[in-house]
């Protein structure tokens, strides 16, 4: 394991949390100062997180930037942090998205602005904690605490039906995570009292116990992803959440579910994962196909993007769990491709969904409606915005050259090696995704200017331009040149496959 010379990960966790406390203390009376502090903290955190990329030693699956300090001695709980190729990109994605959200919501929120910013900063720190925790209890602590600021974000700054949505969100995710807690306690008992996540790997557990553990993890992570049929909290939460909340929810929080599958389900209970892979593949394909159709029926733009998120996350879980079927058919080649596809899809979806929700936010700020029927001909009044919107819509539909294509293509390619019909069903998303996204584009952007409100629309200002521009660059860069990202991930994913194979 590679120790870090100075505690970079701790800095990434605690800097935004402390910044959040400062912002709260400044309060709404000193709003402009509070906003500056919030922005500076987020920017600093992002800059520091770039240190993860520059300092990252490629070509090894070992945990890096490791910090290990005893925390609760009597219970054998350690403050144990570290990232590998799987979690490092997600950490950077987190700090990046938070910074964008704070820029995007600059002066947009007038109700309790200090608390609003503080919530995002704290979420930032907590989510970095989730991705970098190597102690199961520390992971659980971050995993669960995350719910509180999100609960407040949706509940205070959300739409009309926010309270229902936020309580639904909280209870759904809470029931999943407490089941995981029981699983973690059981695993610790089996691992001889250690809570180190890597100690959970390679435990010799009977299949029966593995299946129960798998189910517990499935509840926690499937609800987070979310997978069909436990996805129903997501459209509600997204529609009611403020724009920034939606972005964080879609870009980062959903990834925590996917991350959980590769960090816990696959390596800890490989035998159960193999036994139940049919279930996971079925649920993933239902998400891809059925939810794709559901998305097509939506009137509300945010709801449409929310459903399309579920469909895209179906690719992630498909990529992760199709590996056993591939191994059956090919004896190994293609498994790595599937995992990499899933991971790339996670990062890419982080950019695209963030961009889509921000685009809707731009429109919503001006028109205060998300109903597509109220729009039409926006492109005539907001040409620059329309350009960005079309680009992100194309990426969402998986157009080659954008990041959306890379992950989906890798997963489909890998799925072909498992079973033609898996790949076939998954590939329908290219049609469905194009259908619902382009339909939205047509209804919102094109056609004649239908209403007076649309007629008086102003194009994006400089602030919005920066945010959308940065995201567009990221989407294109990842679409054209995903090599570096894959290079970072590959050793860790290979290592994961070895652990899985050893456990079978």
């Amino acid at each position: 394991m590679l120790e870090s010379s100075w505690p970079l990960l701790s800095l990434l966790i605690w800097l935004p949390i402390i910044g959040g406390v400062v912002v709260l203390a400044l309060g709404d009376e000193r709003e402009s100062q509070a906003r500056l502090v919030a922005l500076a903290t987020a920017a600093l955190t992002f800059l520091f997180s770039l240190g993860l990329i520059t300092g990252f030693a490629p070509g090894t699956a070992a945990m890096q930037f490791v910090e290990l300090r005893p925390w609760v001695d009597t219970l054998n709980v350690n403050y144990h942090l570290g990232v590998d190729g799987i979690s490092m990109p997600l950490v950077v994605l987190t700090t990046f998205s938070t910074l964008l959200v704070l820029i995007a919501s600059w002066r947009r929120v007038t109700e309790k602005p200090a608390m609003f910013q503080a919530c995002f900063l704290m979420l930032n720190g907590i989510m970095v904690g989730v991705f970098s925790a190597l102690d199961a209890i520390l992971f659980y602590v971050f995993f669960e605490v995350m719910l509180v600021p999100m609960f407040l974000l949706i509940g205070i700054w959300g739409g009309a039906n926010r309270i229902y949505a936020t309580i639904k969100f909280f209870l759904y995710t809470f029931i999943g995570s407490v089941m995981m807690l029981v699983a973690l306690v059981y695993l610790q008992f089996q691992a001889g009292g250690s809570f180190h996540i890597l100690d959970f790997y390679g435990l010799d557990l009977p299949l029966n116990a593995q299946i129960w553990l798998f189910m517990a993890f499935l509840m926690a992570f499937a609800i987070k992803v979310p997978m069909w049929p436990v996805h129903t909290w997501l459209p509600d939460a997204h529609v009611q959440a403020p724009t920034g909340g939606s972005v964080i929810l879609a870009a980062i929080m959903l990834k925590i579910g996917g991350y959980g599958f590769v960090r816990f389900s696959l390596p800890v209970v490989p035998e159960a994962s193999m036994t139940l892979d049919w279930l996971m593949i079925t649920l993933s394909l239902i998400a891809v196909v059925y939810i794709g159709f559901v998305a097509m029926m939506q009137q509300d733009m945010k709801k449409l993007i929310a459903y399309s998120s579920i469909a895209h996350m179906g690719f992630v879980t498909l990529g992760f769990f199709v590996i056993f079927a591939i191994a059956d058919r090919t004896g190994g080649s293609g498994m790595l491709l599937a995992l990499e596809g899933g991971m790339v899809q996670m990062i890419s979806h982080g950019f695209i969904s963030a961009a889509m929700f921000l685009c809707v936010g731009v429109l919503y700020d001006r028109m205060h409606t998300r109903d597509m029927d109220r729009y039409g001909g926006v492109a005539h009044r907001m040409p620059i915005f329309a350009g960005f919107f079309v680009l992100f819509a194309m990426a969402n539909a998986g157009l080659p050259g954008t990041s959306g294509f890379v992950g989906e293509f890798m997963v489909i390619l890998a799925a072909f090696q498992a079973n033609f019909w898996y790949a076939f069903a998954a590939a329908t998303t290219l049609i469905l995704g194009a259908a619902y996204t382009l339909w939205m584009v047509r209804r919102v952007l094109y056609g004649d200017v239908t209403s007076k409100e649309v007629d008086s629309l102003q194009d994006v200002d400089r602030r919005e331009l920066i945010v959308l521009g940065v995201l567009a660059a990221a989407v294109l860069w990842l679409g054209v040149y995903p090599g570096p990202l894959i290079e970072i991930m590959e050793p860790s994913l290979e290592n994961l496959l070895e652990i899985v194979a050893a456990g079978l």
Partner: protein, 484 residues
Amino acid sequence: MTTAEAFEIPDLMLALPEIWLLGMACLVLVVDLFSKDRDHTPAYWLTQFALISTAVIAVSTQWGVDATTFSGTYVADALGTILKVSVLLLGFLGFAYSRDYMRERGLLTGEYYILSLFAVLGMLVTVSAHNLLTLYLGVELMSLCLYALVAMDRDSPRASEAAMKYFVLGALASGMLLYGMSMLYGTTGSLDLATIREAAATLEENRVLFLFGLVFMVVGVAFKFGAVPFHMWVPDVYHGAPTPVTLMIATGSKVAAVGLFLRLIGEGLEPLIADWQQMMVILAVLSLIVGNTVALVQTNIKRMLAYSTFNHMGFIFMGLLAGAPGGYGAAVFYAVTYAVTVAAAFGVVLLLSRRDFEADQLEDFKGLNERSPLFAFVMLLLMISLTGIPGTVGFYAKWLVLKATVEAGFVWLAVLAVVGAVIGAFYYLRIVRLMYFDKPEGRGPQPSGSGGFRAVLAANGFAVLALGLFPGALVAICMAAFAP
């Protein structure tokens, strides 16, 4: 036995905390009699001093000791010290929170302090008992004082009804306890818990009678806990009693009940764990599911906290039934931290209450964040701690219990318990929701109370957070009491 042995001078030092508290209680009585202060200020400060000094004495004379005195009827050990210090601390918090409330209602009398102090004394005796009679004495001293305290507000029909209910059912429970004890005495011929323990280990004849005694005692103890199905008194008493008294019943008496269980059944009847474990499982399951669910539909926060108690009692029972040392340690940790958290929750209710106004409706919490961000945040901490969200101490309490339960082989019970916790999350979140998301009707109740009250309450709230971030020391203390 020679006369000299029979009348040996007991080691009074081992019982010094109780003796000191008794002396102080009498002093408070006398001082209050001669004081002309209408607010009973001398009695208040003297009471607080009594509690703190007793806690100091308990720690300095009893921590790390393991000895009996008064011919083996009384024990001083680490477990007793932990529980005593908790009870005394909870008493301190209770008095700090209740002074304004009681004064505004004309209930701030010398008797309030005296009765409360004697109730605390009863709790102390209970957790130190090493003999069936001492145990019963402690329980009755506590209970009788609490009956009277519930009826303090004698003009309130609701309080009178609560007191009546509490008294009748409490007397029934005491009867059960006593009846069970008599069966134990009948079979073993001894009141000494150590002797009973030996007898229980080598039980051959009279086993049925002995087990009958055990059943009666478990029922009696479950009454004191307020575990389902012996819970009927809890909501009415919580609701009807003056809030400071509710606070005492919800906190100190629960800690004492854990002591009662551990002394009587956990230590005294440990060899029969297979027999009482089954009963405890049933009580835990019913408490976790049945009682807890009813809390969902409450509109009064005192009643809601009453019903939610069952959830927590279920967790404590899970720890207790898992057995020593992990389970008992977890149960003690749970009970102590739960009591501290609930004390602060009642503290917030007291903070919002004013003359002629009880802030005990859930509606009164609407928009609290606008009126008092600090105490809204404190209440948020308390609610998420009771829910069991990490970062607060409630998480560690739940986790320790789950750990002990899983290690004892009751994985299904652990799963059931977390389902109970999710049900709990719903009604605790509702308070958060009211405070942060809703607007108050009218102006809503403003936080009142003196500076000292506010400071103690805020400290209590943040202690829940601090213990949640650094629980190590307290866990170590609770576990040390049961170290083999």
